[in-house]
Symmetry: C2
Subunit: 133 residues, 2 copies
């Protein structure tokens, strides 16, 4: 299935931001952004990690399943890090602009010090990766 | 967060394979493969699309949230297509070999005619994409 997969690896995000710690805050942002982007949510799942001795992980991991594929967000407040994945298939129409808009809103909401964005073309005949910046 | 993101875009998968149509079959495969790979599932969500006039989509979309990030699978039986994402962060240890093993089992289970695999290095200082084949 041809489609566009956008990834963002964020650093320097404020560790006390509710989006980093509170699954309900992150869920609300994701729901709002998916709706604004005119993509179709068909399910969602968010999990907050309890601190564990091995790695002191205290963040959130969450996903919104889309009619067009998925949105996934993982936060590491202890490191000020976040990753975001937006993958949309292009069945019936090109959803690339919606994916770019969704990613833009999510990255802006975390206000990172720096962001590494990559754009991966999916599908058998696609050209592969092109860095965004 | 540095990590490894593997993607597989599969074509020529048998449309009547239970894994293409039955969320419980796909869920069981994913659970088993995650366990075999010694990765940590913290939640899962699978959804079956009902056929709709616009695009005749009848497949499954599903995700397993991992302590190490996520596994996502989308099927398009009407096209014989499947996409698989395995993303593992390398917090505390390098989980790359586990990710490669998990992806290998999943691709083999779908027995595609052809597979396009890509390997994306995630994180602020990572080198980006390298095609597997």
């Amino acid at each position: 299935m041809n489609g566009l997969h956008l990834t963002a690896d964020l650093n320097g995000v404020e560790a006390t931001l509710p989006l980093m710690l509170d699954p309900e805050a992150l869920r609300a942002l994701c729901q709002r952004a998916v709706e604004q982007a005119d993509l179709g949510a068909v399910g969602e799942l968010f999990h907050r990690f309890e601190p564990v001795p091995c790695c002191e992980q205290t963040g959130i991991t969450g996903v919104v399943l889309l009619a067009e594929s998925h949105l996934a967000v993982h936060t590491w407040p202890e490191l000020g890090g976040v990753t975001v994945d937006v993958y949309v298939c292009n069945l019936g129409q090109d959803n690339s602009a919606k994916a770019e808009a969704l990613m833009g809103w999510l990255v802006a909401a975390f206000a990172p010090r720096d962001a590494r964005l990559q754009r991966l073309q999916r599908g058998a005949q696609s050209p592969g990766l092109s860095p965004i910046r």
